[in-house]
Symmetry: C2
Subunit: 251 residues, 2 copies
Amino acid sequence: MRETDFVSGFARGLKVIEAFGEAQPRLTIAEAAKITDLDRATVRRSLLTLSELGYADYDGKFFTLTPKILRLGHAYLSATPLPALVQPYLDQLSEKAGQSASASVLDGTEVVYVARASQRRVMSINLMPGSRLPAYCASMGRVLLAALPEAEAHEILRRTELKANTPRTKTDPEELIEELRRVREQGYAVIDQELELGLCSIAVPLMNARGQVVAALNIGAPAAHVAASELAERYLPMLKETQGALRPLVQ
Amino acid sequence: MRETDFVSGFARGLKVIEAFGEAQPRLTIAEAAKITDLDRATVRRSLLTLSELGYADYDGKFFTLTPKILRLGHAYLSATPLPALVQPYLDQLSEKAGQSASASVLDGTEVVYVARASQRRVMSINLMPGSRLPAYCASMGRVLLAALPEAEAHEILRRTELKANTPRTKTDPEELIEELRRVREQGYAVIDQELELGLCSIAVPLMNARGQVVAALNIGAPAAHVAASELAERYLPMLKETQGALRPLVQ
DNA sequence: TCGATTTTGTGCGATATATGAACAAATGTC
DNA sequence: GACATTTGTTCATATATCGCACAAAATCGA
């Protein structure tokens, strides 16, 4: 790609949108400039543009995003057949298991939820399509990493900040690679409170007819309700069933 | 705002993202140019920029959005306290009612889902946060329109393409304004298969402590299961309860 | 297979944007 | 209340983008 095939004003604007987040629901020009590491004048122009287009509100001091910004993500969710395709299966799965069921794909070092059927809140975090979790300590992340060539998985782990969310979190890259091998072999991943205390989950890969892994499916359960060691026995059959039903339908 | 405070390259790029959608999951440069009504060279630069940043994939012919694009909408969902706040209440509500429960806000002529607890699929359309429905024929839309000054609601209806999705859809602006008055007075809106045959719903406004309407809550049910005339009797009490519980918590 | 049609890539002049410094206004501090 | 600091805004100019026109490539139909 040539230098002139890149619209830097567009790239800067997207960076400004991403500056908003859980910790910064509203931003001043200076704050957004600091987060994005862009010039204040540039950030101001991007924010005023967002505001002019209705993607942001401006009260003279703070900018906040408006729901119109959801159109951008919705362009993906509705354009990609996968979320709509798996949703009814997740609903079934969730009802049958009496637990939350989700589907996700990998984006960099993170797992991105593309569909979810929630039974009731068991996590402190609120997950919805678009939500992200670090791949190394999520069951779907393990499954998706295991599907990659080992060198690539290694590279992703190298780029990840491997922090111990709980005392049980595996943070040693070698141990994780070893775990990925196990996951690849057995065809599923179990997480026992590595992301959050009290939460276990089990995930399987979702493959297309050609055997390529296109996403992951999981069931999450409170540790108080189901021991991690029972997860496979209890939920693996229905996950496998869903996996098999979806296989000829995706891609 | 001055002319020079607007970054048109950014605005054009956002338009290109929105060109993707259900009917157009993958676009060539020429297609995107036609949809956005932008110059091909401009669209090409925007798409290559998206691809360079990892927001899109390019196979030399077609561009498709990647899940990374969800970061943009997620910036809103995680930055706005409302979705996370109402989600547990929707889960409860949904479980208690045995039907889907959702929360939405108004964006232009459309209702945008910001949170949802689905019980099982009853509609042909798959709703998720970010999904949009025309306000005039959705229960939450009626409630949100009713909360506006009448002139503003009128203006929105004027801008809306009032099409009859089903034989029951109300499409006459005067009739709709009259209906909005009724909704305002009774404090809830009932839709009887105006959006899709076989689907009814009931919605109430979600107000903050100051009495300002910040969103709408609804319960949707298959017409075969619950007659529209029974909706209020059956679900209004629990909707009101949720409304009351959330009132001191929002904004 | 060939020509017609559509789509894509590129060079260039006109136009729009980014930059960084300077200033003004607001905010925080003592 | 005065000083220091941060923040928002403006401006001139260097730089980058836009959109047109044309060329090249791909696609389509007969």
